[in-house]
Each structure stands twice: as C-alpha cells, then as structure tokens.
C-alpha cells in the first residue's frame, strides 16, 4: 500500500511538476520582459533568447545527471582497482587485452554483429515484400511482428524450452530435440555445443528483430512511387530485377537505418545470453561479461567499468552513422 502511494505521488509530482515548471517559468519570463510597453520589441527579442533554455533546461539537466555523469564516472572508475581504493591507470585495460574471456566476448560480439543485423534485415525485407500485396498479408505481418512485444528475457525463456534437452528415451519437451528424434537423430544438449550454441542464441534475437525490420521496410517499400515500378516493367525487368534493381536501391537509406539500429541492439545484447547460458560454453558477450565483473562474486568495479567503456566506444560510431542516415531519410 505504501508502495502504491509512493508510485502515485511520484507520477502526480512528476507530471504536474513538469506542467508547473513550463507554465510557471514562461509566465515569469513574460513578467520580467513584458511583450508590450515602450521596449516591447527589445523585450520580445530578449525573452526569445532565454525561452529555449527554459524549455530545454530540465532535459539537459537530467540527461547530464543520468547519462553524461555516469559515462564520465565509469571512465574514472575504470582507472581504479577493484574496490576503487587506489589509482591503477590503464592497468584494467591492459588486463582486458590479455583476458581470454574478454577475447571470447569480443569474438562472439563480432559474430553477433555480422549475423543478427544481416539476417534480421534480409528476413524483414523478404517478409515486407511478400506480405505487401496479399490478402492475408496483414495477418502474416502481425504474426511476424508479435515477438517484438516480448521482452528479451521472456524470449530467452521461450527459446530455452525450444532447445530443452531430455536424455535419449525420455519424452522430449524441447521442440528442436523432438524434431531431431522424430527424424531418428540423437537428442543434443544444444546450448553446450560450441559455436552452434552461439548461433542458436542469435536466432532468438533474429526472431525478435525481424518484425521490427519488416515494419520499417514495409513502410519504405510502400513509399516507392508506383510509376517507377511500372516503368521498369515496361522496360522489361522481371519481378526479381524490379525488386533488386528498382525497389531495394530506392530504400537503401532505410535499410541502412534498420541495419544500424539492430546493430546497436546487438552490441548491447545481454538478457538473452544471461537467461539462456549466462555466458557459459563459449557464449560470453561483452555486456554479460561486464555484469559478471561488476556485480557477481566479489565485484570488481574497475574491470567492470573498463568493459563498459569499451562497449560504449564500440557503439558510438555506429550510433553516429545511424543518426546521420536517419536524418538523411527525413530530408
């Protein structure tokens, strides 16, 4: 009950606090520089210079508090030892370079990076094109989009069941092993098979992200002027040629945005690995490794922070490129 009151009062204070701030500060500004009287022109100009800061102020403040400060603090912590008691310089980073688990995570992240965005975008594009002009296309789209609504943890649990193992002879409750045994194969402990288990984890994210790619690309495909397609048909292009030479090039910008957006999701992948293997059997990734060092066993804030900084450095350029592409799309 107390929690409920806390939640409700937080919402009320938050929402009305915002309204009060924007309305009140604006009112105050108009009192200080009234837009009338002898200096009305000057006052309006001055108020116009201050007003944007009033509106942006809270956002800038909170973003700095919850984004900029943690980044700087993380970097600062990464220069200290495990409990932050002594300055160690770049030792944590040097240790990272030599650490086997870190290398494994880097390699795995690279694999995720290559496989997941590519497969998601390709499947999304195929799904978008195929569902575009058929009657039950919208139902198909809804089905493909639905995994988007499931949390990564939930998806991890669902797929863990699909990969579930029971010893040979017992009833297989895992879908994959059931299929394998139906065809006369031996049931496998899928999540422990090196390299394959990585791919199996990736499939979960592909399953989730395909819906996202499909929705965005479907909108882009519909935005292609119909006449250019008709002109290509008149020019003798086959359906495949129309798709690859006329449609895909025209939505290249959108494809880039989808690709990079998924890439960023992939770099941060944590929940799926955490739930399904917790980084064992050669499936470790950077985000999970960071979590391990930061919060598991005896926490090592220095090493955990160093991994976090590496992760951020990897994401940043892709993010910049993504925003650049998205802006180009808008134009």
């Amino acid at each position: 009950m107390e929690l409920l009151w806390l939640a409700v009062s937080t919402i009320v204070i938050g929402v009305f606090g915002c309204v009060a701030w924007f309305w009140g500060s604006n009112w105050l500004l108009d009192r200080i520089y009234p837009p009338r009287g002898a200096k009305a022109g000057d006052n309006i100009r001055r108020a116009g210079q201050i007003r944007p800061w009033l509106f942006l102020g809270p956002a800038i403040l909170f973003l700095s508090m919850y984004l900029v400060y943690p980044v700087l603090d993380s970097f600062w912590r990464s220069l200290f030892n495990s409990n932050g008691s002594s300055f160690v310089g770049l030792d944590n980073y040097i240790w990272l370079m030599g650490d086997a688990k870190f290398r494994e995570s880097m390699v795995n992240n690279m694999m995720w990076l290559l496989v997941v965005p590519a497969l998601s975008t390709v499947f999304g594009l195929i799904a978008a094109q195929l569902t575009d002009r058929i009657k039950w296309g919208n139902i198909g789209k809804s089905l493909i989009f639905m995994p988007m609504a499931i949390s990564f943890v939930g998806a991890g649990v669902i797929w863990k069941f699909i990969y579930e193992y029971r010893a040979s002879g017992e009833t297989q409750i895992g879908l994959l092993n059931w299929i394998v045994t139906q065809f006369g194969g031996e049931p496998q402990i899928w999540l422990t098979l090196p390299v394959w288990n990585n791919l199996l984890l990736m499939i979960v994210l592909v399953w989730i992200q395909t819906g996202f790619a499909m929705v965005i690309l479907s909108a882009a495909l519909r935005g292609i002027p119909e006449e250019t397609i008709e002109a290509a048909i008149l020019d003798g292009a086959s359906p495949l040629q129309v798709f690859f030479k006329i449609k895909v090039p025209q939505i290249m910008g959108t494809i880039a945005v989808v690709w990079t957006t998924i890439t960023i999701v992939v770099l941060k992948v944590f929940d799926i690995v955490f739930v399904m293997t917790n980084g064992q059997w050669g499936t470790q990734v950077l985000a999970n490794l960071m979590y391990d060092w930061m919060f598991r066993g005896t926490p090592d804030y220095g090493r955990g922070s160093a991994i976090a900084i590496v992760l951020m450095i990897l994401v940043t350029p892709i993010m910049v490129w993504n925003i650049y592409n998205a802006r180009k799309e808008v134009r």
Binding site: P225, E227, T228, E230, A231, A232, I233, L234, D235, G236, A237, Q241, K245, I246, P249, Q250, M252
Partner: protein
C-alpha cells in the same frame, strides 16, 4: 509498321465497368490524342494498350498481333508518365540505358543509343547527373529519352506535361511535336485533359466520355462539326452556348424558334417530320457578333472579362442556368450593364436534338473538309476572301473595340 486495332475493348473492376466497347483503328505514324473529363477512362485505356492493366474484354492488336496477354515489354511500346517515373538512384544515362541493359545489349550499343538520345534531347551535359539534380522540364526530357532509346513502334504519353509550369509546358509541347515530325513512321498515343495540347498535337482526337468513345476526328472537325452536345461543349473554350428552341421551318436551311421569342436561321437541313421538334441551338462564343439587325440572342451584359486580345461577355450569371458567353475581339471597357444584340453566321450554328447533332443523324456526313478561314466562323462550305473574314464582325458592329484588334 505498327497499326493499332482495338476491337470491342472493355475494362471493368469487379462490377464497375469503366470502359466498354471501344473500337479504334490507329494507322502507323498517326498522332492520336485521347481527351475527356477526369474519370472518363482515358488513362486506363492507355494503360491497357501499354499492358499495365488487364483487358477485361475485347481484343488489342499491334502490328497485326493480338497483344492482350503479351507482357508490356514485348509489345513494342514505350511510355512516358506524368510523374516522369525516373529511377531516382540512377544517373540520366543509366535511366535511359536500363531497358537496354535488361535486354542484354552490348556496352557499345548502349553507349551509342544513350549518346544519341542525349544529343536529340539536349541532355548531353546532364548524362551523369541524378534526376534530383534536374529541373522538371529536363526530367521529362529524360523520360522521353528513356522511351526513345528503345526505339518503339508506339509511344504512349500519359499527361506528360501536367507537372510542368505554363511556359515549360508550351516549350515541351513543341518539342514533342518536333520529335513526332522527326519520326514520321512512329505512332504516338497521347492522353491529356488539356485542349490546347490535343488541338495542336493531334492528327486525330478521340473524345472519351461515359466509358465510351464520344467522337473521333481531326481537331478542327471536332471543333466545327461536333457529333454530340458533349463534344461540342468539351472542345473549345469557353464552351459552346446552347439555346433551347423548336424547329419552325424545315428545308435546306432550318429556321429555329428560340425560347424567348427570337429566331435563328441555321445552315443545316431538316426534314418535313422535324416540324416543331425540340432542339438546342449551339453557338460558340467566338462566333457571336454584335448586330443591329435581327439577333439570335439579346440580353444585358452581367459581367465582362477583359483578356486583352478578346473580351468575354457573360449573360445570365445570376440565374440558375448556365450563363451564355460571347467572345468579342478587342477591348470593350463599357459593356457591363448594357443591352446588346448578338447574331452569328448560319453556317457557324449547330443543332442538337436529344444531345445528338442533326448533322450526324443519317450516319456520318460527307468527308470533312476544314473551313478555310477558321476561326471566324463566318463561312461554311463557301470560302470567302481573307480580307472579309472577321472584319465584318468588328467594322459592321455597333460596338467597336478600344485600340487595335490583334
């Protein structure tokens, strides 16, 4: 040689029939224009010829071959779209080369063809640009170039000038006319709602209305001998005036008693049984002139529009009926509110009964010959010396324009 034949062609979407029973013969090398009000199916007909729309019923032949189920690219046609439909990710040269690349032509052939088309359309400096770096007129030229490189037997134009501004439209129209002149054996089919384009470009105009062909003919034939009230009012601007009345005297020329008491003599023959038949007298605004004698129409000017070279007089703008419009050459500043009497040459008048022209009721009239002294409308089959034309309307009339008549 690519003659086009359409036999009983029809198009329906589900239960809705948009085109029915279209019969049309187009000879190789003709410039045909489809006109009609919006929604009359003119673009649909063009797209059926192109193969972008399925033909619901009937037969389409190009060069003697039935084309109903032949894919668009094998029909020997090329199409220019209203929105240009350029491939935005390809340079001008690649846009023009696309069809040839698909057809598997060699690099040398493609370069030669695109160079030639670029030269023809003054696009050489722009060959390596993307469409977005071109102006509207240049884009439409690229679209035309894309058609030219394929060297089709039949060119299809779907309102190609509608997206251009007025000045560019005139310039591009002339370019299309020159293009046609440079390829006399190529057939061109052109859809437009713009009368000027239809009148200036066409060898023959096909007027479409209500899902069928209203009339086919040379531009001036449609202007001077429209077969229906619809065509009469559709061709010519402002539209032809229709004055209701009854046939009073029949014979080689007909006397019509108009509602309101006036009479008009019309150089169209009527038969004995036509006595007292209700008719609409058609008179074009530009055929009306001021007279002191017996008028065909008399009323007070409600409104004038001075266009410089002509002045438009509006009568009956307040009434529920369509206003009557007269077009007088020159500038007439003081006519508003004055009562004027207007007449027209008997040969310039039209008679319609139930929407159909009386000229056409015994089948098509004898082969059409344009009046030699158009557009004054003062002559019928008897040509008159040029100095008489038009002059009578101005000099003889009571109302004289201010300043010279251009």
């Amino acid at each position: 040689m690519a003659d086009l034949k359409l036999r009983h062609v029809a198009k329906s979407y589900g239960d809705v029939q948009v085109l029915r029973d279209i019969d049309l013969d187009i000879t190789s090398g003709e410039f045909i224009v489809f006109v009609g009000p919006s929604g009359c199916g003119k673009s649909t007909l063009l797209r059926m010829i192109a193969g972008l729309e399925q033909i619901s019923d009937g037969e389409l032949q190009i060069g003697g071959r039935v084309m109903n189920d032949i894919p668009p690219s094998q029909r020997g046609i090329a199409m220019v779209f209203q929105s240009y439909a350029l491939y935005p990710h390809m340079t001008v040269r690649d846009n023009m080369a696309f069809a040839l690349k698909i057809a598997g032509q060699s690099k040398e052939q493609i370069t030669a063809a695109t160079d030639r088309a670029g030269k023809m359309l003054q696009l050489t400096p722009y060959l390596d640009r993307l469409p977005k770096a071109l102006s509207g007129g240049q884009r439409q030229r690229v679209a035309i170039g894309r058609a030219i490189v394929r060297d089709p037997q039949v060119y299809l134009f779907d309102e190609p000038l509608s997206n251009l501004d007025a000045a560019l439209r005139v310039a591009t129209r002339i370019e299309i006319a020159q293009l046609k002149a440079s390829m006399p054996d190529r057939t061109m089919i052109y859809v437009t709602h713009d009368q000027t384009e239809a009148m200036t470009l066409a060898d023959r105009i096909v007027v479409l209305a209500g899902g069928g062909i209203a009339q086919i003919g040379a531009p001036l034939e449609l202007y001077e001998r429209p077969s229906t009230e619809f065509v009469a009012q559709f061709i010519g601007s402002p539209a032809m005036n229709l004055l209701p009345g009854r046939v009073k005297t029949v014979g080689a020329t007909t006397l019509v008693a108009l509602d309101g008491g006036l009479e008009a003599e019309v150089a169209i023959p009527t038969r004995a049984g036509d006595q007292d038949m209700p008719v609409n007298l058609g008179v074009r605004p530009e055929d009306m002139r001021v007279t002191e004698g017996t008028p065909v129409f008399e009323s007070t000017v409600d409104l004038t529009e001075a266009l410089g070279e002509v002045t438009l007089l509006y009568f009956g703008t307040n009434a529920d009926t369509v206003p009557i419009i007269a077009k007088l050459p020159g500038i007439h500043p003081d006519l508003k509110g004055r009562r004027v009497r207007l007449t027209a040459d008997p040969h310039a008048l039209h008679l319609f009964h139930k929407g159909q022209s009386l000229l056409y009721r015994d089948g098509p009239p004898p082969a059409y010959q344009a009046r030699t002294a158009a557009p004054s409308g003062s002559m019928g089959s008897t040509p008159t010396a040029p100095d008489e034309r038009g002059g009578d309307r101005i000099e003889e009339g009571l109302i004289k324009p201010v300043g010279p008549v251009r």
